[in-house]
Amino acid sequence: MSPRSANSTASAAPVESRPVRVDSNAVETIDLGRVEVIRVLDEKGRVVDASVEPDLPDAELLRIYRGMVRSRRFDQRMLAMQRQGEMGTFAPGLGQEATQIGQVYPMRPSDWYSPSYRSIGAQVWRGWTMEQLLLLWAGYFEGFAIPEVANELPFSIVIGSHVPVATGVAMGIKVRKDDAVVVTNFGDGASSQGVVAEAFNFAAVYKAPIVFIVESNGWAISTPLEKQSGNTVLAARGVGFGIPAVRVDGNDVLGMIAACSRAIDHARGGGGPYLVEAVTYRMSLHTTADDPKVYRKDDEVKAWEGKCPILRFESYLKSRELLDDDAIAQINEEIEAEVIAARDRFRELAVARPEEIFDFVYEQLPEELREQKAEYLERLKRKGVQ
């Protein structure tokens, strides 16, 4: 399950979406190019564009499939646990499995990943254990421990606020002349935040090795994309900043891998930032505190059911005879067992540690905070907590 490099997937397609560099004094009509769209599989899982189809060994294709299934099964389990009161508020990723796995698949462990909150499946791929993520979303601070196996930043809750930080990491990579890249994701809603635009500009000016993934899933809580942005083609933002950009069918995992591999190779090769707009759909609730019935029509959701990223990839794998119904059932069973085992480990680990809330705020607790901590521990003792 550990992430590994898959550079070989870079497609040979020409980079058409690279913005045209023009003379800064030009006063003639300027053609800034067009937005390229990548799609390998159609909704039935048929290859529609073999020119960008990643050339992956069978075992890798199955590993990707399992990653998507794990993402979904884990999500469903969390939702059930949340409904039973075992989990806090969280944001389900249902329907975005291809976008998620496709963006992390081409990364190396040494690359940096800076996700938003709706990235639980991708985090599992990157090496976060499921029990740790359960701890995190159940409100246990231990869940925040950064796993050792890859370069991870904590997921972001404050919309867009991580994007400049991710950009700064990429600038650091450039300063140190390392060959890592940063991948960061955020939503269509986040694209409205000023800092996201500012980060685009910094990345472009410093040619920082970062891939911006905007997961355009139709909604930001109750706000539809059309009310979020005057131009709903978010990849078009790239040209304004001098950042090459591509739009991809985010429910096509092979399309995602093709686009993200290209973007990552571009950044690693010194080309600077790249913007990938993944067109997908938030099938579930915004968060478990949300009721989408108030603001969106069931028909819309129904229409997207036909575009399910997992079914689509399944059809493709079946057509390549890598999968049949028995194998699908078996994989689902195995993964369900993994999820249940993680849940059981979580239940053992889920012990609150109220005494440690002072311990990570500073390198060394200042004297005045030591006094506050003593006061707090006294309170815990009175309550019989310690």
Binding site: G88, T89, F90, Y117, W137, A138, G139, Y140, F141, G143, F144, I157, V158, I159, G160, S161, G189, A190, S192, Q193, G194, A220, I221, S222, T223, K227, Q228, S229, A289, D290, V294, Y295, A352, R353, P354, I357, F358, V361, E368, L369, Q372, K373, E375, Y376, R379, L380, R382, K383, V385
Partner: protein
């Protein structure tokens, strides 16, 4: 008279203000079709239309910045920030424009607007959804800062804030949103901003709180009276800025003892300001050092342990009893 939750009472005040004054507009993330994530603006889009109830893009700095612009143009925007943690995104526009455009235009452009936001802990929320940073806005010249504690004063104070000619930061204790119901009068009701209320008269010690802390404060007061025979006077601050120094000083001059409670961090918190004022104006009456029971100077902890972090009636009782020991 209807029994309303704070959410319903706020909704009532918004509807009444919009009906009475067509300059009043509402704007924010998810405030229209969705009626707000806490349903405070429910039904207002249907009643007043999309010109006056604006679902905005996800950008707090521009929500406040454009609200300021609309106020310049003579409208009275009530901008909702979904959680007070995200007022940080708008810090620039609050500080540079909302708070000072009146002064910078020598009062040609009064900024009559309200920034509403739910604040505070206690609802088992994820990070950044539990903060109490009212002290930031108290520190900013040009703003008023109002924090109700129950449905009835929430309705009256929101009406007053919307009517106010100056920009008001209106922080709503989300832990109280649906916690209890209270009788709210049929006809519109308002309250003067800048006045504290003595909600329980007493003679031994003054206990000062506001917002969501009024519940543990009152619980502690009951306990102190019933179990310990200490006659506590309780003050609900209601308005952080301007602050009702007179009521505070009058009370502490009588009791000689005082404990201040808030959930925000201690350093430079509202309690520090209250204590400074009492030192300035009631020093000669003090029988004991003034104690504060507040949040600690650390990040709001993750929700499994938030109940230990938040001041509770037990820690307030302990502080009051310590204060009483001075003779």
């Amino acid at each position: 008279m209807p029994q309303l939750t704070m959410v319903e009472a706020l909704n009532l005040a918004l509807g009444e203000s919009m009906a009475a004054d067509d300059r009043v507009c509402i704007m924010g993330e998810d405030v229209g079709v969705n009626g707000g994530v806490f349903r405070v603006t429910k039904g207002l889009l249907e009643r007043f239309g999309a010109d006056r109830v604006l679902d905005t893009p996800l950008a707090e700095d521009s929500i406040i910045g454009t609200a300021v612009g609309m106020a310049v143009y003579g409208l009275k925007p009530v901008a909702e920030i979904q959680f007070s943690g995200f007022t940080m995104q708008a810090f620039d526009q609050i500080e540079q424009n909302m708070a000072r455009l009146r002064n910078r235009s020598r009062s040609r452009y009064p900024i009559s607007m309200v920034m509403r936001a739910p604040y505070g802990g206690g609802i088992r929320a994820v990070e950044h959804h539990s903060e109490s940073r009212e002290a930031y806005w108290a520190h900013t010249p040009g703003l008023k800062v109002v924090i109700p504690s129950g449905p009835r004063n929430a309705r009256a104070l929101l009406a007053a804030s919307i009517a106010d000619p100056d920009p008001v930061v209106f922080y709503e204790p989300k832990a109280v949103y649906r916690a209890f119901r209270e009788e709210v009068s049929e006809s519109p009701e308002t309250m003067e901003i800048g006045k504290a209320q003595i909600v329980r008269p007493g003679g031994d010690v003054t206990l000062i709180g506001y917002g969501a802390m009024m519940r543990p404060v009152l619980e502690a007061a009951d306990d102190l009276v019933e179990e310990h025979g200490i006659d506590v006077e309780v003050i609900d601050l209601l308005s952080i800025k301007p602050m009702d120094t007179e009521t505070l000083v009058e009370s502490v001059s009588r009791t000689g003892r005082c404990v201040v409670v808030h959930e925000g961090p201690r350093m430079c918190g509202i309690a520090a300001e209250i204590i400074a004022r009492l030192n300035e104006h009631a020093f000669e009456y003090l029988l004991a050092p003034i104690r504060r029971v507040t949040g600690f100077d650390i990040h709001f902890p993750y929700f499994q342990v938030e109940k230990h972090y938040l001041p509770d009636s037990d820690s307030i009782v302990v502080a009051v009893k310590e204060t009483m020991q001075w003779t």
